[in-house]
């Protein structure tokens, strides 16, 4: 929504068609154009189809925000091969192929901004949902750095955002599991979690969106290869 408020037209992709329809409606209510593409973002053919549709509809892609991601709260010793494959399929493989396929178009345009949603999990934050997830986000940070150096000559900036605790639907699901395991209410569990943050503030999704707008806008012109924490001070790196 922040992108629409700042004047962008949007190609919205997700596995959840109902949620997409709601977002599209809200974007259009702001007077922006939007299309929705139902896509499995761990599937390269689906990614190809998504990019083809976007180009057919709008003629170019100026900004890619790789925001799709999956996880579940689990102790390291309980992670299965299926968990690993599910998490890395979307969080690492999906991010790579979205970058590669969209960069093909951006190279033709000789311009573009790519913003990958990583996480402070990728920098070793110890209360992350699980170790496999942390590995997938570490991969995003490393891919961001290397892609920025390889695409810089084509005037394409590649950066990552590393959110800390953020009040998203995914986080609330994780918090629910944590609360259940600890025998606490959701509010009690939230207080325990937020008290660990130096600023005692959890992110709202808007905090992350503000950075994503900045990196895609004029202020991000010479910024590339970076991974910015938005975490209230949880990880000082």
């Amino acid at each position: 929504m922040a992108y629409a408020a700042e004047g962008a037209d949007l190609v919205l992709a997700d596995l959840n068609a109902e949620a997409l329809a709601e977002v599209q409606k809200a974007v259009e209510a702001k007077g922006r154009r939007a299309i929705s593409i139902e896509a499995d973002l761990g599937d390269v053919e689906a990614i190809d189809a998504m990019v083809t549709t976007a180009i057919k509809q709008f003629g170019r892609i100026d900004v890619l925000v790789n925001n799709a991601g999956v996880t579940r709260k689990a102790f390291m010793m309980d992670i299965t091969e299926a968990d690993w494959d599910r998490i890395h399929r979307v969080n690492a493989k999906g991010v790579f192929f979205c970058m590669q396929r969209v960069a093909r178009e951006m190279i033709k345009q000789n311009s573009g901004r790519i913003i990958n949603m990583a996480s402070i999990a990728g920098k070793g934050y110890r209360d992350s949902s699980n170790v496999a997830y942390a590995g997938s986000k570490g991969a995003v940070i490393a891919m961001t750095r290397m892609a920025s150096s390889q695409l810089g000559g084509n005037n394409i900036n590649v950066n990552a955002i590393c959110p800390g605790i953020t009040r998203t639907a995914l986080y609330n699901t994780l918090l629910e599991t944590q609360a259940k395991n600890a025998g606490l209410s959701m509010d009690e569990m939230a207080k325990v979690a937020f008290d660990t943050i130096p600023l005692k503030l959890a992110n709202e999704p808007e905090d992350i969106a503000a950075m994503a707008v900045f990196l895609a806008g004029p202020g991000g012109r010479t910024i590339t290869g970076q991974s910015y924490n938005i975490d209230g001070g949880l990880i000082p790196d």
């Binding site: 004047g7 949007l10 919205l12 997700d14 973002l41 892609i61 890619l64 949603m117």
Partner: protein, 37 residues
């Protein structure tokens, strides 16, 4: 009384910038957002 680097009170009026509309940062851009649902 007023040095070269200081502004006289009369010169400090309503900031011109405030009279202008702040341009939208992503005006005219096409953005593809995954996980947008």
């Amino acid at each position: 009384m007023w040095g070269r680097l200081a502004a006289k009170p009369a010169e400090i009026g309503p900031a011109k910038a405030l009279e202008k509309e702040i341009p939208m940062q992503l005006q005219g851009k096409i953005a593809l957002i995954t996980g947008a649902g």
